[in-house]
C-alpha cells in the first residue's frame, strides 16, 4: 500500500469514528461533540487567516456572533434555518472585507489589536442595542431545522443525534471546501505570502488582495459556525462572543498546529472535549491549558499536529532503514 491509500484509509476511519462515536451516548456527550464540530469550523476559518495568510485575528468570536445573530433573528422571523445560512455567511464575509480592507494595511500585532478592538465594539453593540439583540439577555428559543423530502423526514434536528450528523455533514463540506481553497492557485498564493511576502509580491501576487480574501473567507467560516451554534444551543448572548472567546479560538488553532489541515480539529478537541474527560482537574483546567499552550509553542512550534507529523516521519525513516538493512 502506498502512502496515498494509507491516507485515504485514515480519512475513512476517522469519519467512521465520528459517525459511531455518539451512538448510544447520552444527550450531553452528543452536545459536547456537536459543539466541538462547531468550534472546529470556526478554528478552520481562523487557521486560513492565521496559518495560511499569517495574520493574527482576535475577532473570530465576533464573526461567530454576526453569523449567530443574523441566523437567529431571521429564523425567529419565520425563515427556515437553511435559508438564513447564506445570509450569515454573507454578513460575516462582507464585514470581514469592510474590517479587513483598512485593517490589513497594518499587520502583525497592530492587526491583532485592531481586531481585538473590533471584537469589543461588536460586544458593546450587542449588549447595548437591546431593541434588536435582546441586550444582555440575548436571544433564545431559535427553532431547529427540519428537513423533509416528499413527506419523508430526512433529518429531525430536534433529536440531538440527528442534529449531530447534520453538523458533521456541514463540517465535512466546509473542510472539503477549505481543502479545495488551500490547493487552488489562491491557496498557493496564501502560502507564498506567509513564507516569503517580499518574494510573493515580486512574483506579481497582489498580496493585499489575497490577504484580504483569506481574512474574509476565514470570517465567513466564523459566520457559518455561529449560524450552526444558534439552533444548536438555542440561546445566544453577548457574553458568548467576547474577546476571551476569540482568544480561545486562536489558542485552539495554535495548539492544534498553525497552518496544518487537521490542527484546528485537534486544538478544538483539546479545548472542548478534553475538559469533559478531565473533570478531576475541574477549575484548574484553564490554567493547565494555558500552560500547555506555552509549552507547545516553545517545544513544538507546529503544535500537536506537528508532533504527529514528526512521529510519522520518524516511523517512516525507521521502516525505510529496516527495509534497506
Amino acid at each position: 500500500m502506498n502512502f496515498f491509500s494509507w491516507k485515504c484509509l485514515g480519512w475513512v476511519l476517522l469519519l467512521a469514528v465520528l459517525i459511531i462515536a455518539p451512538i448510544g451516548r447520552g444527550g450531553y456527550i452528543i452536545s459536547v461533540l456537536s459543539l466541538w464540530l462547531v468550534y472546529s469550523i470556526a478554528a478552520m476559518g481562523l487557521n486560513l487567516t492565521l496559518g495560511y495568510a499569517g495574520q493574527i485575528s482576535l475577532a473570530q468570536a465576533s464573526f461567530m456572533a454576526i453569523g449567530a445573530y443574523v441566523s437567529a433573528l431571521l429564523s425567529m422571523a419565520g425563515w427556515p434555518w437553511l435559508t438564513t445560512v447564506p445570509f450569515s455567511l454573507l454578513a460575516a464575509f462582507v464585514v470581514g472585507i469592510l474590517l479587513g480592507y483598512p485593517a490589513l494595511r497594518v499587520q502583525g500585532h497592530y492587526l491583532a489589536f485592531v481586531t481585538l478592538a473590533f471584537n469589543t465594539l461588536v460586544f458593546l453593540v450587542l449588549r447595548n442595542e437591546d431593541w434588536l439583540t435582546g441586550g444582555i439577555y440575548g436571544l433564545s428559543g431559535m427553532p431547529r431545522p427540519n428537513f423533509s423530502l416528499f413527506g419523508f423526514t430526512l433529518f429531525d434536528a430536534t433529536q440531538n443525534l440527528h442534529f449531530y450528523y447534520f453538523i458533521l455533514l456541514l463540517t465535512v463540506i466546509s473542510a472539503l471546501a477549505l481543502w479545495g481553497i488551500v490547493r487552488s492557485p489562491w491557496g498557493r498564493a496564501f502560502k507564498a505570502l506567509r513564507e516569503n511576502p517580499i518574494r510573493a509580491e515580486s512574483l506579481g501576487l497582489d498580496t493585499r488582495r489575497i490577504t484580504l480574501l483569506a481574512f474574509a473567507i476565514g470570517s465567513a467560516y466564523g459566520g457559518l459556525s455561529g449560524a450552526i451554534m444558534s439552533p444548536l444551543v438555542q440561546f445566544i448572548d453577548p457574553a458568548s462572543f467576547t474577546f476571551a472567546q476569540s482568544l480561545r479560538i486562536l489558542l485552539m488553532v495554535v495548539v492544534g498546529g498553525i497552518g496544518s489541515f487537521f490542527g484546528p480539529f485537534l486544538g478544538a478537541a483539546m479545548a472542548i472535549i478534553l475538559p469533559e474527560f478531565m473533570r478531576f482537574t475541574d477549575k484548574y483546567y484553564l490554567i493547565i491549558y494555558a500552560l500547555a499552550v506555552i509549552i507547545v509553542l516553545i517545544f513544538s512550534p507546529k503544535g500537536l499536529w506537528g508532533m504527529v507529523e514528526n512521529a510519522g516521519a520518524r516511523i517512516a525513516t525507521w521502516r525505510k532503514a529496516r527495509a534497506t538493512s
Binding site: 497594518v106 497592530y110 489589536f113 482568544l247 489558542l251 495554535v254 506555552i294 516553545i298 512550534p301
Partner: protein, 293 residues
C-alpha cells in the same frame, strides 16, 4: 465647572497610570520587538502579590509593597524574559511569541481567580484619601499625588536612560543590537534590564491604580488595552509619546463617561485606536519606522 475640574483631575490620574504601563510596553518593544499581550495582567498581578504577602506572611503594608515589587521584578521581569521570551524570540514564526504572551495572560488571570480570589478585593491606598476645596471644586489629594509620583518615576527613568552609562548602553542595544555588541555592550544583559524595568513600572502602576479600581483578576484586560492604545497613540517608539498617549486616553475616558455616553464608554478608546492605526500608524507623536512587509 467644579465637576469639570474633578473630571479632568481624575482623568489625569488614571492617564498617568496608563502612561506607566505604556512606557514599559514601549521599552520592551524597542528592546526585544516583543509585544506583551499580558501587560494588563502584569499590572493586575503585583497588587495581589502585596495582598498575599499581607494575608499569608502577616507583614505590614509598607513591607508588603516592597516584597510585592521585588517579587514582581523576579516573576514578571526575570522569569518572563528567561522562560518565555528567550526561547521564543529566535523562532522563525514571530507570531508564536505574541501568542505565547496571550496564553500567559490567560494563565495569570485564571491562576489569580483560582488560587486567590474571584472577587474584587479592596486594596489600601498609598496616599491619604482626603479632598481639599479648590475654587469650589473638591479636589482629591490622592489624584494629585498619583499624577506627581507617576510623572516623577517616568522622569527618573528618562534621566537614567539618558545620563547613565547603563542607560545609554540599553538604548544602544535597543537601537542597533549588532553594532552595540561590537562596541562592547552586553546586549543580552541590557535586554534583561529592560524587562526588569518594565516589571517594576507595571508594579508601580499596579500599586497606584488598584486603590481606585480594586484588585480583581479580570481587571488586566482593560488595563492592557489602555496601555497598548496609549503606546500606539504615542507611536510605540518614544517614551514621551507613550506618556502623552496615556494621559490623553485617561482624559478622554473620563470626559466621555461623564459627558457623552456611559454605556459606550469603552468604545471611544477603541475607535481612537482604530483611527490612529489606520490613519497614522506611526502614532500622533512618533516618528515613522521603516515598515516591514
Amino acid at each position: 465647572m467644579s465637576q469639570f475640574i474633578q473630571v479632568i483631575l481624575s482623568g489625569l490620574a488614571t492617564g498617568s497610570i496608563y502612561a506607566l504601563a505604556a512606557v514599559g510596553f514601549t521599552l520592551v518593544w524597542q528592546a526585544a520587538r516583543t509585544v506583551n499581550f499580558a501587560q494588563g495582567e502584569f499590572v493586575m498581578l503585583p497588587a495581589f502579590f502585596v495582598l498575599a504577602a499581607m494575608k499569608f506572611l502577616h507583614v505590614p503594608f509598607s513591607l508588603a509593597l516592597v516584597l510585592g515589587l521585588a517579587f514582581s521584578i523576579i516573576a514578571l521581569g526575570y522569569l518572563f524574559k528567561q522562560l518565555i521570551v528567550q526561547p521564543l524570540l529566535y523562532q522563525q514564526q514571530s507570531l508564536n511569541l505574541i501568542i505565547a504572551t496571550m496564553a500567559l495572560s490567560l494563565l495569570l488571570k485564571e491562576s489569580v481567580k483560582t488560587f486567590y480570589s474571584g472577587q474584587a478585593e479592596p486594596f489600601p491606598s498609598l496616599f491619604p484619601d482626603t479632598s481639599s476645596n479648590f475654587f469650589g471644586a473638591a479636589v482629591s489629594l490622592q489624584d494629585i499625588l498619583i499624577v506627581i509620583s507617576a510623572l516623577a518615576v517616568v522622569y527618573l527613568l528618562t534621566l537614567f536612560l539618558d545620563k547613565t552609562r547603563t542607560g545609554r548602553a540599553m538604548q544602544a542595544a535597543a537601537q542597533n543590537p549588532n553594532v552595540a555588541e561590537i562596541l562592547g555592550v552586553d546586549v543580552k544583559r541590557m535586554t534583561l534590564y529592560t524587562f526588569l524595568i518594565n516589571a517594576a513600572l507595571a508594579a508601580f502602576a499596579s500599586f497606584l491604580i488598584t486603590p481606585i479600581y480594586l484588585a480583581k483578576f479580570s481587571s488586566g484586560e482593560a488595563l492592557g488595552l489602555a496601555a497598548f492604545i496609549a503606546a500606539i497613540i504615542g507611536g510605540f517608539n518614544s517614551i514621551r509619546g507613550a506618556v502623552a498617549g496615556g494621559i490623553l486616553l485617561g482624559l478622554l475616558d473620563n470626559i466621555t463617561a461623564t459627558y457623552i455616553t456611559a454605556s459606550y464608554r469603552t468604545a471611544l478608546p477603541l475607535v481612537l485606536l482604530i483611527a490612529v492605526i489606520l490613519l497614522r500608524p506611526e502614532g500622533l507623536f512618533g516618528k515613522a519606522e521603516g515598515r516591514k512587509v
